[in-house]
């Protein structure tokens, strides 16, 4: 239980680090002087000490929504597969719960964007709804497929099963789910082929557009929520698709886990540097590939098993 709680606290503490690490690698590759890796914490403390101003046209939703954005994600943190051996994990949670909670968070983010009655917010919310509608079925199918391959529908138990006995004969289905989940990782967290996290131009904003009108504590909470969402996805990818290193002792397992997260960050950074942002109407192409691969992995699993 102690390990369980401490890994959750570790994940919460590390999350701003990962996003700054991605930015750092991008700046390093494009020959700029990289920002410090603790920039995320500095942003957080800066925002916490700023005065919180809300616009006049908003309703009570704006006061409540940031907390509702953060809390489902914090709940999901409790349901992830364990990263060290001997930690407690919840084993009855399956793909629907996790996807549902993440979608709940996205729903409140969309409400927040709509609430300020500005055109930017409405535009951001509608785009986010558009992308979300394509991401959800793929996510459910992918996580289901992996948990079927691991033999148990619960995510936590699936992670443990995969670490102990990797199913060699289902390698093809595994590969398809991995490709699909990686595309989902990019889409849900608003990274470059789908959404530019550093832009403030109207034509290219999705996530930024929804949070344009808040500042101070609310903005700090929403930024924290987006970094926690990223670490949820990265941790799921690391535990389900790179399931090695669970059997070592606690410090080494932690180091391996953090190394896996950093590798995922490096992969995302390389992808961001080498690709241009897709037009919004081309995003369904990319997400269509993700849906097809998720479906394909489930089907190839059934052909072999049934």
């Amino acid at each position: 239980m102690i390990l369980y709680l401490s890994t959750i606290i570790l994940l919460v503490v590390i999350s701003p680090l990962l996003l700054s690490f991605i930015t750092q690698i991008k700046m390093f590759i494009t020959f700029k002087k990289p920002i410090s890796i603790f920039q995320g914490y500095r942003n957080f403390s800066k925002l916490m000490s700023k005065e919180t101003i809300i616009s006049e046209e908003t309703s009570a939703v704006t006061r409540v929504a940031p907390f509702l954005i953060l809390s489902p994600l914090l709940t999901v943190l409790f349901l992830l597969p364990p990263i060290v051996k001997g930690a407690y994990y919840v084993s009855f949670v399956d793909a629907f719960t996790i996807t549902g909670l993440i979608s709940l968070s996205t729903f409140f983010l969309m409400l927040l964007g709509l609430d300020s009655a500005s055109s930017f917010g409405g535009m951001g919310s509608s785009r986010e709804a558009f992308i979300s509608a394509l991401v959800e079925p793929a996510m459910i199918l992918t996580v289901f497929s992996v948990s079927m391959m691991a033999g148990n529908l619960g995510i936590g138990q699936a992670g443990v099963n995969l670490a102990s006995s990797f199913p060699q004969k289902h390698m093809a289905s595994f590969l398809f789910s991995a490709i699909s989940f990686f595309i989902l990782l990019i889409a849900e967290n608003g990274r470059i082929p789908v959404d530019n996290p550093q832009t403030h131009l109207e034509v290219t904003m999705i996530h930024e557009a929804m949070i344009l009108d808040i500042t101070g504590v609310y903005l700090a909470i929403v930024e924290m929520a987006s970094s926690i969402k990223f670490i949820i996805f990265a941790s799921l990818f690391a535990s389900l698709f790179m399931p090695f290193g669970l059997q070592f002792s606690v410090p080494i397992a932690l180091m391996i886990f953090i190394a896996k997260l950093l590798i995922i960050c490096i992969a995302i950074a390389l992808l961001e540097v080498s690709t241009a942002k897709l037009r919004l109407f081309k995003v369904p192409n990319l997400l269509g590939i993700s849906i097809v691969f998720a479906f394909l992995s489930l089907i190839t699993f059934y052909v072999l098993g049934a």
Binding site: H170, M171, A172, L175, G288, T300
Partner: protein
């Protein structure tokens, strides 16, 4: 390992159905042939069949290196159109492709029971055949149709590897030679679009 390579084979095929640029399509064809060649070499090493190793090596050299290079050279020389948007829109092909996958897996099930091979591999080979026909159908220009024909040959080679551990050597050599001749004919066909009748 061979499951992994067959998975990548099908993955690159599905990605090349969605892609809308000619050079990207040639790149995915290159990855496709690379996976196929590596698969042939691995299975050949596993069952100690020299013919399969030689076919795999020829596939790697011919289909993964020479043909993509020749295709790119031809597309530069004849100024082929590089933007090839599929005719089937994305939201329809997202439904169509899984439907075809389910359909072909359903058809291939009795066949895979009758052959002593991994049922996954047979089903993937037969669905690659149908998906390649979709690739040929959905473009109006001739260059993706050529790449579709070459991918069809790849899918047939995969079926030959998985269903029967490689066809006899002479037949494989004949197939490769035919592909070479097809590329020569394609080169000749691209020249001179002719005067108006």
């Amino acid at each position: 390992m061979d499951n992994f390579l067959i998975g990548l084979f099908l993955a690159t095929l599905i990605i090349s159905i969605f892609t809308a640029r000619l050079y990207r399509l040639i790149f995915w064809y290159f990855v496709n042939s690379l996976m196929l060649g590596l698969l042939a070499v691995f299975i050949g090493i596993k069952v100690h069949d020299n013919a399969l190793i030689v076919s795999g090596a020829i596939t790697l050299v011919l289909k993964a290196l020479i043909i993509p290079y020749v295709l790119k050279y031809l597309s530069k020389k004849f100024h082929l159109q590089r933007q090839i948007t599929p005719n089937i829109k994305v939201h329809y092909s997202v439904i169509l492709i899984p439907a075809i996958l389910v359909f072909t897996f359903f058809i291939a099930e009795p066949i895979s029971h009758m052959l002593q091979a991994n049922p996954n591999d047979i089903s993937i080979s037969i669905s690659s055949l149908f998906l390649t026909l979709i690739l040929m159908m959905e473009h109006n220009h001739v260059a993706p149709k050529i790449i579709g024909f070459l991918t069809l040959d790849n899918a047939l080679f995969l079926l030959g590897i998985t269903a029967t551990n490689g066809m006899p050597m002479l037949v494989e050599l004949g197939v490769f030679f035919d592909i070479l001749m097809a590329i020569v004919i394609i080169n000749l066909l691209f020249k001179d679009t002719g005067v108006k009748a």
